[in-house]
Amino acid sequence: MKLLVADDSLVVRNAIERAVAGGVVTAVVRAADGADAVALFELHRPELVTMDLTMPHLDGLGAIEAIVAIDPAVAILVISALNSHATALEAIRRGACGFLTKPFVEAEVAAAIEELANHAATLRADADSA
């Protein structure tokens, strides 16, 4: 499966890429801001996405909305600091499937991506029948 990692921190992008190595993810695309994330999504159409909420140019919420509009079957995991429950719930409302808080350990990310990948099949089936 293809994964898009959207986060403005190089350290975090590296950590996530390391965490998913050797698992179900075979290719990783990286974006450092929201606008790039949407553009790269359009180009590569990954099945899985991790999204930070605080990014320049287009923030996480906007990016989630745009990406889900392109492909309703995409499985998005928000990986962000939990500053406000209201924002977190809004991210889910816009189409994210889950939320992992920072700081995280790599094992957490690996497990979450695996769950997300399993879920992606359900989303694909729902979208196809809709």
């Binding site: 719930l89 889950g98 939320f99 992992l100 979450a112 879920h119 729902d126």
Partner: protein
């Protein structure tokens, strides 16, 4: 006649339901009493009529043909036929076979089920029948064949449901956790644990929606978040396990109307029916005790770490310095517990400042930070929590110091033995170099200088010159109080940042010198010199004006650095101090009969020179 029934022998009514069923909640058809009257198909209809008259409870008869059971005639079926035009005349004189064939043609075979069928299933099958046949008996096949009245099946089903409800109610009454169900609309289900009411402080949840309940307990905002969270859990897009971390009710504090508070933890689990998210199971737990314990453990752990820090600092420390610090701590702790007069405040502030310096020199970071916090809290009077920590720190320090002094008392005593009156009468060269108190002082000063420089992003080289083997105890004590302040000032106010130094044409690494010298004439000199920016008299005067100081003080700008509260730093931090430092130093020096000289070349260097006379015996 179809021979679908294969019994071994006809039998009389089987025993009533198994009395040992007890708490079992699922009954089998075979456990319900049945009727096993049989009549041969050749027998005349009148015989059946007489039988039905005689046995009013009989729902029907099984028909045999040559010993094998081939069908059944139910009472209702019989009455239906008999009730028709000339029914009796038609059927009573003739063999039952006729009636049986007619009934099969019109109604089909009587419903037949194995005795291992669950009662739930039997009820369902029975109710699937055409309306006029719903209450017809069922033929139950097993070891024997029986005819079971459908009313009895329905009664068994009711009993089963009642038992299940009772068991459920018993469970719900017994569990300690709060359990309740919430549907898609947020409505709380009727079945919930008794503990749920208790934990959430309600007599009943009747008609209450979950978000509303949360709003009542924790406020409007919490209610909105709860509603939002329920929404996410009911959404098929969401992975249940991946939204646990954003549960807004993960751990909440509930304030009791009577005062006090509790901590509750809410967990949510989806209840699936097939692929549909039918409801959420809400699990409520009181975590007050658990959280309190966790807090205590964290506190203990921190205290343990602090004790280790103290112990490490004490290894190799000058026992005198440590004992002095401890006395000061005890004094301050005592002072803080008394109602304080305004004049006492200033003395207290000075003592805290001194503790800061000495603790810093000894490497007791926690004590130093505590003193710094107290210094800041004093003006507001808001010291209670900090005072308690200070008392705890004093106690810990005291206990460890006692142990270490006892361990190190041998070296302390041997030193004292060599010097009958005080250390200053010991001949030169007989002191063990490693325990020399002056060396201790120098080393501590170096550590402090490097630490402060590192914290401020400055680079320095520390040079010490001690041209004395004898420094009186009194002067040593004074030095212990003064040197940290002087060194700190030199690094904070004197030395520039490496970039600034480079621009000024100086080497990036600054130099701080500490000189301790005893003069033959009986004077002891303590000098701290830096090659920093020196004293800018204009800047000092300007600050003096800004502080509204009297003109006679402004006349000597260099003297302003000794005015309490004068600090020319831009902001107060733990290293720059709050302006209580140099005035204390000057006071001590003057009290000892000495003086302070300030030498400086603006832009180049600054030196503070303390001159103290030999203490009178």
């Amino acid at each position: 006649m179809p021979t679908t029934l294969t019994p071994t022998r006809p039998s009389t009514a089987t025993p009533a339901r198994n009395p040992t069923a007890g708490v079992r909640q699922s009954f089998l058809l075979g456990e319900i009493r049945g009727h096993a009257h049989t009549l041969d198909v050749g027998v005349r209809g009148r015989v059946l009529a007489d039988l039905f008259l005689e046995q009013s409870a009989l729902p029907g008869v099984l028909l045999t043909d040559g010993g094998a059971i081939v069908g059944a005639i139910t009472r209702r079926g019989y009455l239906d036929l008999i009730g028709r035009y000339c029914g009796m005349d038609l059927y009573h004189p003739r063999p039952l076979r006729l009636m049986a064939d007619r009934l099969v043609r019109e109604r089909g075979q009587v419903l037949e089920l194995p005795e291992s069928t669950l009662v739930d299933e039997a009820v369902r099958r029975g109710l699937e029948r055409p309306r006029e046949l719903i209450y017809e008996p069922i033929v139950v096949v097993g070891e024997s064949v029986r005819l079971v009245d459908f009313e009895d099946v329905l009664l068994a089903d009711s009993e089963q449901t009642a038992r299940r409800n009772t068991t459920m109610r018993q469970i719900l009454a017994t569990v300690r956790e709060g359990l309740l169900l919430v549907d898609r609309n947020g409505q709380i289900g009727q079945e919930h644990s008794v503990a749920a009411l208790r934990l959430l402080g309600r007599e009943s949840f009747h008609g209450l929606a979950f978000p509303e309940l949360i709003a009542q307990l924790l406020g409007v905002e919490a209610g909105v978040l709860a509603a939002g969270y329920l929404e996410t859990l009911f959404s098929r897009r969401v992975v249940e396990g991946l939204v646990e971390q954003i549960n807004p009710l993960r751990s909440v504090e509930l304030h009791e109307p009577a005062g006090g508070s509790r901590r509750l933890a809410f967990r949510f689990v989806r209840g699936m029916v097939g692929c549909e998210i039918r409801h959420l199971l809400v699990h409520v737990e009181d975590t007050t005790q658990r959280d309190l314990l966790a807090q205590q453990i964290a506190l203990e752990r921190r205290r343990a770490d602090e004790r280790v820090e103290v112990a490490l600092a004490l290894v190799g420390a000058d026992p005198e310095a440590v004992t002095g610090l401890r006395s000061l701590l005890e004094l301050v702790a005592h002072e803080l517990s008394q109602p304080r007069a305004a004049t006492g405040e200033h003395q207290l502030a000075r003592s805290l400042h001194r503790i800061k310096g000495e603790a810093g020199m000894l490497g007791l970071v926690t004590v130093r930070e505590l003193a710094h916090s107290l210094e800041g809290a004093l003006p507001n009077g808001d010291v209670e929590g900090l005072r308690e920590r200070l008392v705890a720190a004093t106690a810990d320090l005291g206990e460890l110091v006692d142990r270490f002094i006892r361990l190190g008392v041998a070296s302390g005593e041997s030193r004292a033995n060599r010097a009958p009156a005080s250390i200053d009468s010991a001949p030169a060269g007989t002191e063990p170099a490693s325990l020399d108190p002056v060396d201790q002082l120098v080393r501590s000063a170096e550590v402090l200088a490097l630490e402060v420089a590192a914290a401020m992003g400055k680079q320095l080289r520390f040079v010490a010159a001690t041209e004395t083997e004898r420094f009186p105890a009194a002067v040593r004590a004074l030095a212990r109080g003064a040197v940290p302040q002087l060194v700190r000032n030199a690094v904070v106010h004197g030395l520039e940042r490496p970039a600034d130094r480079r621009r000024a044409g100086k080497p990036e690494i600054g130099t701080v010198q500490l000189r301790l010298r005893s003069h033959v004439g009986g004077w002891h000199e303590i000098v701290v010199q830096d090659d920093g920016r020196g004293l800018d008299e204009d800047q000092l005067r300007r600050r003096g004006v800004a502080l509204g100081l009297p003109s006679q003080l402004l006349a000597n700008p260099r003297g302003l650095i000794f005015v309490p509260g004068f600090s020319t730093a831009q902001s107060v931090d733990i290293h720059a101090g709050r302006g209580v430092g140099l005035d204390l130093v000057r006071a001590e020096v003057e009290a000892a009969g000495g003086r302070i000289e300030v030498h400086s070349e603006p832009g180049a260097w600054c030196a503070l020179r303390l001159l103290v006379p030999e203490p009178s015996p």
